[in-house]
Amino acid sequence: MKNRLKVLRAERDWSQQDLAERLEVSRQSVNAIETGKYDPSLPLAFRIAELFGQPIEAIFLRD
């Protein structure tokens, strides 16, 4: 699944580590989600959406 995580992160000038700390996950998790290697679970997707103040479908896009 494609996502806009990298763009949203860049807009806030956050590193992967910054985002990982805010989400309470490892940097590897952020990297894997960002590069499309891993699709997050629904609870984590909701946490990401909440953090960026956007609906899930505005962050995660269908292929």
Binding site: S15, S26, R27, Q28, S29, N31, T35, K37, Y38, S41
Partner: protein
């Protein structure tokens, strides 16, 4: 003391994993040449297991540096250290009793069971880690590694089993299952860590 071990262990777990795999490979080669075999191999396997102590330390250091040292992983690495030390100690005790007292009956059963207890602890520690890990991606990554180890074990075991049935290769003791599984798991872990380095922004 802990500082010295940390310094020696460094941040290259693959190096210690390679040393461990190399030690197991050497034992297997000597078994193949009939220099070692059965109970005579056990002390050499135990010596090879010493590499697991710096391997666990190094994995800790590496994970700490890359920000993946979750509380569950720290606990798992600690349990791995307990496992490696208890395996070496219990195997040593069992070997000494077997060699010096030549026990029979229930005592022989007891000392034969001793070295397998830490192996059961090892399997329990892996299950505990998967239950305790709250980072879903790391949990998936380590589950995949464990499955790869299992696939390798089933593949090698089946392949070797049939070769053995047709008497073209020598017999291999069943306690090799955990080292083969652990080697497969380690290999899969190294592959996944290297793959994940792509796309890192730091």
């Amino acid at each position: 003391m802990a500082g010295i071990v940390d310094k020696i262990a460094g941040r290259r777990p693959w190096m210690w994993a390679l040393a461990f795999a190399g030690a197991m490979g050497i034992v297997a080669w000597f078994e193949h040449r009939h220099v070692l075999g059965g109970i005579r191999s056990l002390p050499f396997v135990a010596a090879g297991c010493l590499f697991l102590i710096p391997l666990a330390k190094s994995a800790n250091n590496c994970a700490s540096a890359s920000g993946t040292l979750t509380p569950a992983m720290r606990q798992y690495n600690r349990r791995m250290m307990i496992w490696a030390v208890s395996y070496i100690v219990l195997l040593g005790i069992a070997m000494s009793i077997r060699h010096n007292l030549d026990p029979q009956g229930p005592l022989l059963w007891l000392i034969a069971v001793l070295p397998s207890l830490p192996m059961l602890f090892f399997i329990w520690a892996m299950v505990r880690y998967l239950k305790e890990e709250t980072d879903e991606y790391l949990r998936l990554r380590n589950t995949l590694s464990a499955l790869f180890g299992l696939a390798l074990l089933l593949g090698v075991g089946t392949f070797w089993g049939f070769l053995e049935a047709f008497k073209v290769v020598p017999h291999v003791d069943a306690w090799w299952v955990v080292p083969v599984w652990a080697m497969g798991m380690g290999l899969a872990n190294v592959f996944q860590v290297m793959r994940d380095r792509k796309g890192n922004d730091q």
